[in-house]
C-alpha cells in the first residue's frame, strides 16, 4: 500500500478511534447560542484552527519528530511534551478529553501496528494526550511529519463540521463547501505546526481560546449531551 492511501486511512473519520463522539467544543458553543448558522460555524472553525488546531498539530508533529529521529531520549522528550501540552490546556475538562481520546487512539494503534514503539509514551494517569499518540501512530504508519500535522488539523475541522450538521441541521453540501474553502488555511496551519516541531518543547504554539475553556467546563457539567466533548 502506498503512503497516500495510509494518509487517507489515518485521517478518515471512520478510523476506529471514536472521533465521531466528539464535537471539538461545538456542542457547547451551539448551546450557548454562539454558533447558529454557516457564517458563525465558519468563524468557529477559523478560531479552532488558529488555536486548538495549531497546538494539537504542533504537538503531533513534535511527537512524530521525537520517535522518527531515533533519539535515545525519546521517552523523556515525550514526557516533556505531555507536560508542555498540559500547561497549554488550562481547562481540566479539556485535559481529560484529550487523554481519553489518546487512549482510544492508542487501542487502535496497538492493534494495527503491534510492533510500533507506543511504550515510549509517558505513563501518565489517564493516558497520554491525543496529539502525542497521533504523532506516534502516524510515524508507525510511515507518514511524514508534514502529513502528521495535516492529519491533526484535518481532524480539528472535520469533527466540528460534521457535528454542526447533526446539531444544527445544516445543509451538508454547504458545510462541505465551507471545509473546501478552509482547505488552504488548514494546509498553512499544518505547515506552521510541522515547522514548530523543530523548536524546543517550551516554544511551540500555546494559542489560548478563553471560550474553549469556558465552553468545555460548562459542557462537562451537563447530564445529557450528544457528544463527549
Amino acid at each position: 500500500m502506498t503512503t497516500s492511501s495510509l494518509l487517507l486511512l489515518v485521517a478518515d473519520g471512520r478510523f476506529p478511534a471514536g472521533a465521531h463522539a466528539h464535537s471539538g467544543g461545538l456542542e457547547a458553543a451551539v448551546a450557548a447560542g454562539r454558533v447558529t448558522d454557516l457564517a458563525t460555524l465558519e468563524a468557529f472553525l477559523a478560531g479552532r484552527l488558529a488555536t486548538a488546531g495549531l497546538v494539537g498539530a504542533a504537538f503531533a508533529a513534535a511527537a512524530h519528530r521525537a520517535v522518527t529521529s531515533g533519539s535515545a531520549v525519546r521517552g523523556s522528550t515525550l514526557a516533556l511534551l505531555d507536560a508542555e501540552l498540559d500547561a497549554r490546556t488550562a481547562a481540566p475538562a479539556l485535559r481529560t478529553v484529550s487523554r481519553r481520546q489518546g487512549r482510544a487512539l492508542l487501542r487502535a494503534g496497538r492493534a494495527i501496528w503491534p510492533e510500533a514503539s507506543f511504550d515510549d509514551l509517558p505513563a501518565t494517569p489517564g493516558g497520554a494526550h491525543q496529539p502525542l499518540v497521533l504523532g506516534l501512530l502516524c510515524a508507525a504508519a510511515g507518514l511524514s511529519r508534514a502529513e502528521t500535522a495535516t492529519v491533526a488539523v484535518h481532524g480539528t475541522v472535520t469533527g466540528a463540521a460534521s457535528a454542526a450538521v447533526r446539531l444544527l441541521g445544516l445543509d451538508p453540501y454547504r458545510v462541505q463547501a465551507l471545509l473546501v474553502g478552509l482547505a488552504g488555511r488548514c494546509d498553512g496551519i499544518a505547515a506552521a505546526a510541522a515547522r514548530a516541531a523543530d523548536d524546543p518543547p517550551e516554544r511551540p504554539a500555546a494559542a489560548a481560546a478563553p471560550l474553549a475553556d469556558i465552553h468545555a467546563e460548562a459542557h462537562a457539567t451537563w447530564e445529557v449531551r450528544l457528544f463527549a466533548s
Binding site: 468563524a43 481540566p92 517550551e202 471560550l211
Partner: protein, 245 residues
C-alpha cells in the same frame, strides 16, 4: 524607545522585605509606595504615552527567598501604532524564589486601532513560592476595532511547565472575535494564582468566567471574557485572594 527596569527584593530578616535594587528609565519607571503587611509595593509609572510601535520595554523582577512584592501600574497601557511593520514589545522576566511571593496586578492593556504589540512574560516560581499574575486585554478603545496584540505568558513551577498561553487578538489572529475564542467580547483576561497553601478546588464555570485548576502545580487559573473593562476587572480582581501580604 527602549527601556530597561529591574527590581530585586530580599527578605530583611525581620519578616519584611527590602528592595536591594530598584532602577528604571522612561517610560518604565519604578516607584516604591508605602505598603501594608510584609510586602513592598511598587508601581510602574509610565513616563510617556504608549507603548508605541518600535518601543522595546523590558522589566526584570527577582524576588528572593521569603521576600514579598506587589507590583501595580498606575494606568492602563495603550498600545498605539507607529511606523508600519514595526511592533511594540513589553517583556517581563520574573523569578520568585523559595518562600517568596510576587503579586503582579497591572492595569489593563488596551490594543488600540492599528497597534502591533507583543507582551511577553516569563515567570519561574520555585517550589513553595507564591504568585499572583493578571493579564487583561481590552480590544480597542471605545467603539474601535483593535490592532494586533499578542499576550504570551509562560510560567514554570518548580522547574516544570505550569502555564503556557498566548492570546492573540486583532487582524493578525484569524477567528479571534468568533465563537471559538472570544465570541465578540471586547475584554478578556486571566488571573493565575499559585499558592501551595490553597486547598485543591475543582473547576467551576459561571457565565463567561471559569476557575480552572492547572495540572502542573498548586495553581488555579481564572479566565474570563466580558462586555467591558470594568466587568472584566470584577471577575479578575485578585485582591480578595491575597492573604497576609
Amino acid at each position: 524607545m527602549r527601556a530597561y527596569a529591574r527590581l530585586v527584593a530580599r527578605a530583611d530578616g525581620r519578616g519584611g522585605t527590602v528592595l536591594a535594587e530598584l532602577r528604571g528609565e522612561t517610560p518604565l519607571l519604578l516607584r516604591q509606595t508605602p505598603g501594608r503587611g510584609r510586602a513592598v509595593t511598587v508601581y510602574v509609572v509610565g513616563g510617556a504615552a504608549g507603548p508605541l510601535a518600535g518601543d522595546d520595554l523590558r522589566l526584570e523582577i527577582d524576588v528572593g527567598p521569603g521576600a514579598a512584592v506587589r507590583l501595580h501600574t498606575v494606568a492602563a497601557s495603550v498600545a498605539l501604532p507607529g511606523r508600519p511593520g514595526v511592533v511594540s514589545r513589553m517583556v517581563v522576566r520574573a523569578v520568585v524564589r523559595d518562600g517568596g511571593a510576587l503579586h503582579w496586578l497591572p492595569e489593563q492593556l488596551v490594543a488600540a486601532a492599528g497597534c502591533a504589540h507583543l507582551a511577553e512574560s516569563r515567570v519561574e516560581v520555585a517550589a513553595g513560592a507564591r504568585l499572583t499574575w493578571r493579564d487583561e486585554v481590552i480590544c480597542g478603545r471605545y467603539g474601535e476595532a483593535p490592532g494586533s496584540a499578542v499576550v504570551h505568558t509562560r510560567v514554570d513551577y518548580d522547574g516544570r511547565p505550569l502555564l503556557r498561553q498566548s492570546l492573540a487578538v486583532g487582524p493578525g489572529a484569524p477567528g479571534w472575535a468568533g465563537p471559538a475564542v472570544l465570541g465578540g467580547a471586547p475584554a478578556t483576561g486571566s488571573l493565575l494564582v499559585v499558592d501551595p497553601s490553597l486547598p485543591h478546588e475543582s473547576a467551576t464555570v459561571e457565565g463567561t468566567v471559569a476557575r480552572l485548576p492547572l495540572a502542573g502545580g498548586p495553581a488555579t487559573l481564572w479566565t474570563a471574557t466580558a462586555a467591558d473593562a470594568h466587568t472584566l476587572r470584577a471577575h479578575l480582581e485578585g485582591e480578595p485572594l491575597l492573604t497576609e501580604v
